[in-house]
């Protein structure tokens, strides 16, 4: 699936404020939307309407808890392949067919396909890599993280 290409121009000032505010910590209180709406000078109804619209237009890809899969017993790993240009479409289809492949990006480098594998158990990673190598006939380079310095996908709208 490709990301929607909603343009930044369709966002008004209030949408931007809302996107920025909702990237922070959403409160764990009985009426969290009302609490956030108050800090932005909006009504709860207006905030929910805008949030629905941002999700519908795919300006936001999701809204909710972000789980760290490893701390729930799962595993993920960054992996890359060197795919011959002539085979690219075939290999994209083969790799994307694996449910373990969560994201896949084409990048401008000899290693031109970069994807993240997510599995319910750490052993699942090696199995998925072996299966992808068998399906595509190409080696997979795994880049497991050895140390995490920072992860915070927050971008100002």
């Amino acid at each position: 699936m490709r990301e929607a290409t909603a343009s930044a121009a369709t966002l008004d000032e209030i949408d931007r404020k809302l996107i920025n505010a909702l990237q922070g910590d959403f409160p764990l209180v009985p009426e969290p939307y009302r609490q956030v709406a108050e800090t932005l000078g909006l009504s709860e109804t207006e905030l929910l309407r805008r949030l629905d619209s941002l999700l519908e237009r795919r300006v936001l890809t999701r809204f909710g808890p972000m789980f760290q899969i490893e701390r729930a017993g799962g595993a993920f790993v960054l992996a890359a392949m060197r795919v011959p240009e002539a085979d690219f479409e075939r290999v994209v289809a083969q790799v994307n067919a694996f449910p373990e492949v969560a994201h896949n990006y084409r990048r401008e480098h000899a290693l031109n396909m970069w994807f993240v594998l997510a599995t319910a158990t750490p052993q699942g990673i090696a199995e998925a890599i072996a299966a992808i190598e068998a399906a595509t006939g190409l080696p997979v380079f795994a880049f497991p993280k050895e140390r995490e310095y920072f992860v915070e996908m927050k971008l100002r709208a």
Binding site: D25, L60, F63, R106, Y149, V151
Partner: protein
């Protein structure tokens, strides 16, 4: 992975049900935790208590919105990769990760001879010139601890479904 990663992160079956029920998103109704509780046969206080515990132990990184970075104007995405002296990479990695424009920063194994890089820092920006300027800032920070680096721009998103566990 941080050292405390293994501590007190046991999830019971109820936590897992809550995880599966919320991984696609939080209900967009005035009392979302009540709605979850109704769906799962749990008191709203229990929903809040369990979500708070999972946040505290890091199973949940945060609760909030994930923007489509293209839609909010960040159309250039460069994965900068660096070959940094092993004895200095941890101290410098923390500094690179602290830069406001770096969204992910990890140490990963080299794959010699093809891949000499051990530090990865993702930079999102409005355009490639701006990414390049930010990469130059990282280069200045790393100084002589870095032997060589590269930036891999993404030219297409081939798949993006997010991380899911099976219900």
């Amino acid at each position: 992975m941080k050292r405390e990663a293994k501590l007190d992160t046991e999830l019971d079956a109820t936590d897992r049900r809550l995880m599966v029920a919320t991984q696609a998103g939080l209900p967009r109704v005035p009392r979302p935790y009540d709605a979850l509780g109704d769906r799962l046969g749990m008191a709203p206080e229990e929903v809040l208590r369990r979500l708070q515990r999972m946040l505290d132990c890091g199973v949940i990184r945060r609760i909030g919105a994930v923007p489509n970075h293209y839609a909010i104007g960040y159309t250039a995405n460069g994965m900068s990769v660096w070959d940094v002296d092993d004895s200095r990479v941890d101290a410098l990695g923390a500094q690179v990760g602290a830069l406001e424009f770096v969204t992910h920063c990890y140490r990963r194994p080299r794959r010699l001879p093809d891949w000499p890089y051990n530090l990865f820092a993702m930079v999102h920006s409005q355009n490639r010139d701006e990414v390049a300027a930010r990469v130059a800032q990282i280069a200045a920070l790393l100084g002589d601890a870095c032997r060589t680096h590269d930036v891999l721009y993404s030219s297409a998103i081939l798949k993006k479904t997010g991380l899911r566990i099976a219900g």
